[in-house]
Amino acid sequence: MCGHCGCGEEAATTVLNLQTGKQATMERGAGHAHDYVHEHGHDDPHGHGHEHGHDHGHADSGGTPARELVELETRILAKNDAIAEKNRAWFKGREILALNLMSSPGAGKTTLLERTIRELKDEIRLFVVEGDQATANDGKRIRAAGAAAVQVNTGSGCHLEADMVARGLQELKPAPGSVVMIENVGNLVCPALFDLGEQAKVVILSVAEGDDKPLKYPHMFRAAQMMILSKMDLAPHVDFDPERAIANALRINPSISTIRLSARTGEGLDHWYDWLRGELARVHDRAFA
């Protein structure tokens, strides 16, 4: 709880372990700067890289105190990216395939996961990090389908960040050789910017949406390695043109792959499962590369 930036109890990020029922509230250091008054025990105020201590000539004018310009040249997302790299190394050492699933709300991420868990349960161990702003509804659905899950509720946040995934993994303890599905918050904008340490980003576009979505949300489709066209059973009833959607995605990202499927009828799921098997085999082969 913090009075400085307005991030109250409601906005805090929580992690719920659906196996134990234990819920934790995350202390998220990355975004906050509340410790600015405490000393870091080094007295030299000029200790940061090269800096230009010019005073703009105002020093003797009485009114304006002298200013000091300090060059920082720091990447804004450096902290997130460093944690993401740690996650990636953690996955790699355990030969775990981690996928970051992203879509707009309602494209069918959870439904696809439920069916995948049920149909591959004798072959692949699946673990799920569920991201939503609020509620454990999706986490419970995943549990009911037969996989271990943690629910990360981001509060006011519109996407998962690498530290949330790290905290989720601490609870989830995915087994070596397993697949970790990270279901991001439903949103085609913000999640594209934040590396979580996954091996691949998968974007899901349902045929109930527009086939121009890749053009409207280019960052997302540029970042993804795989596009899933979901709810293909609805295709005859809507104006969505799969060929046009694929052409639009390829305009943004010439190397993106596509699978068409319906988690309801089962159409195309074999391709999805084959892709998962192939990615998992690749993770295994590259563990010591």
């Binding site: 920082l72 804004i76 946040g157």
Partner: protein
């Protein structure tokens, strides 16, 4: 609004470097292909800076134009969006500039 987290990161980076001294100005570089809207960062900045050493600081955002290098014809061209093709028509191009998200510098009150 990922710009809120982006802005929180900016304030955290600057606060840490300032070590308790008051910051009067922050300069950022934001690439036009970065997916971050400079206006939205500016909108968040005053709110996030409240109660920190950055409170009241002015924010300067240097927007960096996108530059692409075509993998088909080799041309370097200004890319205004991610889906702008190379003048030769090819969509296969690498972003070589325009994705910057950098805290460039800060200005502080001179230590007494």
């Amino acid at each position: 609004m990922h710009e809120l987290s982006v802005t929180q990161n900016i304030v955290a980076i600057v606060s840490e470097a300032a070590k308790g001294r008051r910051v009067t100005r922050v300069t950022l570089e934001v690439g036009k292909l970065s997916g971050v809207m400079a206006d939205a960062v500016a909108f968040c900045f005053d709110v996030v800076a409240q109660g920190t050493v950055l409170e009241g600081a002015s924010l300067e955002i240097l927007e960096i134009d996108g530059l692409g290098r075509c993998e088909t014809c080799g041309l370097e061209f200004e890319a205004e969006t991610l889906f702008a093709p190379c003048p030769c028509g090819s969509m296969r191009w690498k972003r070589i500039r325009g994705e910057e998200l950098i805290v460039k510098s800060m200005e502080m009150v001179e230590a007494a």
